[in-house]
C-alpha cells in the first residue's frame, strides 16, 4: 500500500470504510468459512480501499465498491494459495457435521455447511443477495458478470439448498415446537 494514499483520505471516509468492517467480515466468512482468512481478507480490502479512495466516483456506492474489492481479494488469495476453485464446481461435503455440533448451533452449522458446498460463484451470489440485500444489478457489478448469470446462479444455488435443507428445516421446526 502506498502510504501517501492514507494522507489524502479524510477521517470521515476512513470512518465510513471502517463502519463496513463487520458486514464485510460476515460476507468474507460466508465465502471462505475460515475465520482467520476472513479477517485477513477484510483487512486487505480496507487497506486497498484506503489506498484507492480516489477511484470511488460515487460515495453512495461505497458498500458495493468495497464488496467488489473483497471479491478481488479472494480471487487473489486463491491465485496465491492454490489453484482457483472453478466457479461452477461443487465442493465436497465439508468435514464438520451436524453431529459434531452442539444442539444450539446445529442449524447454523448445517446451513453454513451446505452453503460452503456450493460452487464459489453461487455462494457469492446467494450471500450478496441474502446477507447484504444487494439488487441483482449490484451483484452483477460486484462480481463482474451479467445480470442473467446472477439470476441463474441464484436459481441453481437455491435449488441445491432447497433439496438439502427444506426437509431439515421442517424437522428442526418439529423439534422446536415439540419442546414448547
Amino acid at each position: 500500500m502506498r502510504m501517501t494514499g492514507l494522507f489524502g483520505v479524510s477521517a470521515q471516509f476512513r470512518g465510513r470504510i471502517e463502519a463496513q468492517r463487520e458486514p464485510l467480515y460476515r460476507l468474507a466468512y460466508s465465502w471462505c468459512h475460515d475465520a482467520g482468512l476472513a479477517d485477513d481478507l477484510v483487512q486487505e480490502t480496507l487497506l486497498r480501499a484506503l489506498d484507492r479512495a480516489g477511484q470511488l466516483n460515487d460515495p453512495q456506492r461505497l458498500k458495493s465498491w468495497l464488496c467488489a474489492i473483497l471479491a478481488n481479494c479472494l480471487k487473489d488469495h486463491f491465485r496465491r494459495a492454490r489453484p482457483l476453485q472453478p466457479l461452477d464446481e461443487e465442493m465436497p461435503a465439508p468435514g464438520e457435521t451436524p453431529e459434531g455440533a452442539s444442539a444450539s448451533n446445529q442449524v447454523a452449522v448445517r446451513v453454513r455447511a451446505e452453503i460452503e458446498r456450493l460452487p464459489l460463484g453461487q455462494r457469492q451470489t446467494v450471500t450478496l443477495v441474502d446477507l447484504e440485500g444487494f439488487s441483482y444489478a449490484e451483484v452483477a457489478e460486484i462480481l463482474e458478470v451479467p445480470v442473467g448469470t446472477v439470476m441463474s446462479r441464484l436459481c441453481r444455488a437455491r435449488e441445491a439448498l432447497r433439496s438439502r435443507l427444506i426437509d431439515f428445516a421442517a424437522q428442526e421446526n418439529y423439534k422446536i415446537r415439540s419442546i414448547r
Partner: protein, 227 residues
C-alpha cells in the same frame, strides 16, 4: 408476466428478493392466492433466505462465529407453516387488486394494510378506507387493530420531509390509538445509501423489512391487504 404465464423459478426468486416491479409483484401475489404449489415454493424460498441470513447473523470479526439465537430459528422455521396452514391471503374477499373497497365489510379485527407506492390513487383510497373502517368499528364497539406498513416509494408518506399526508396521518393517529404505522428499515437503508435523509413522522415504528412484518402478522392471524 401475464396472467396465464407460468411463474418461473427466476421470477419466484425475484419475488422473495424484492426485485419485481409493482405490476409483476401484484400478479404473482394474485397467483399465489389460488396456486397452492406456487405458494409452497415461494414459502420455501423465503425460508431458505431466512436460513441463510440467520446462519451468518452471529459471524463477527476476530472470533469464531457464535451460535445464532434459538428463538430466531423457531421463527424462521415457523414461516413455512404460515403459508402452508393459512395461505398467503387469509380472506378470499380480500384478493389483491380489490384494494380496500371491501374493507369495511371485513369481520376480522386485525388488519395489515401494505402501501408500497406514494401515488395518490393508491394512498388516498387506502387512508380513506382505513379511516372509515376504524370509525365504523368504534361506533359498533368493536375492538380492532390496523397496521399500515409502508415500503418502496410508499415509505415517502411516513417521512417527515416527503410526506404529502403528514397532517392526515397525525390526525388519524391521534384519533385512533389502535392504528399503527410501520416503516420498512430496508427501504430506509437504501434511501440513506443514496444520500437521502430519512426522518420519520412522529409515532412511526420501524420493522427490519416490510415482508418480515407482513409474515409476522400473518403468522399471528392478521388479515393482509395490499393497497
Amino acid at each position: 408476466m401475464s396472467h396465464d404465464e407460468k411463474v418461473s423459478r427466476e421470477m419466484q426468486n425475484a419475488f422473495v428478493d424484492g426485485q419485481l416491479d409493482a405490476a409483476d409483484w401484484t400478479l404473482l401475489v394474485e397467483r399465489m392466492g389460488s396456486d397452492e404449489a406456487l405458494r409452497r415454493e415461494v414459502c420455501e424460498l423465503r425460508t431458505l433466505k431466512d436460513l441463510t441470513r440467520s446462519a451468518y447473523a452471529g459471524a463477527h470479526s476476530g472470533r469464531a462465529a457464535p451460535a445464532p439465537e434459538r428463538a430466531r430459528w423457531a421463527r424462521v422455521a415457523a414461516v413455512a407453516l404460515v403459508f402452508a396452514l393459512t395461505g398467503w391471503l387469509a380472506h378470499d374477499a380480500l384478493a389483491p387488486g380489490r384494494i380496500l373497497t371491501e374493507l369495511r365489510g371485513v369481520a376480522a379485527d386485525r388488519i395489515l394494510v401494505h402501501i408500497a407506492s406514494s401515488r395518490g390513487e393508491v394512498v388516498d383510497p387506502a387512508l380513506q378506507e382505513v379511516e372509515d373502517y376504524l370509525s365504523e368499528a368504534r361506533a359498533a364497539g368493536r375492538q380492532v387493530r390496523v397496521e399500515i406498513v409502508a415500503n418502496n416509494t410508499g415509505m415517502d408518506i411516513l417521512r417527515a420531509n416527503t410526506s404529502a399526508y403528514a397532517a392526515r396521518l397525525e390526525r388519524l393517529r391521534a384519533a385512533y390509538p389502535n392504528l399503527t404505522y410501520i416503516a420498512c428499515n430496508q427501504t430506509a437503508d437504501r434511501l440513506r445509501e443514496k444520500g437521502a435523509q430519512v426522518k420519520l413522522l412522529p409515532g412511526v415504528q420501524v420493522a427490519p423489512t416490510a415482508l418480515d412484518e407482513i409474515v409476522k402478522r400473518m403468522q399471528e392471524g392478521w388479515v393482509y391487504i395490499r393497497a
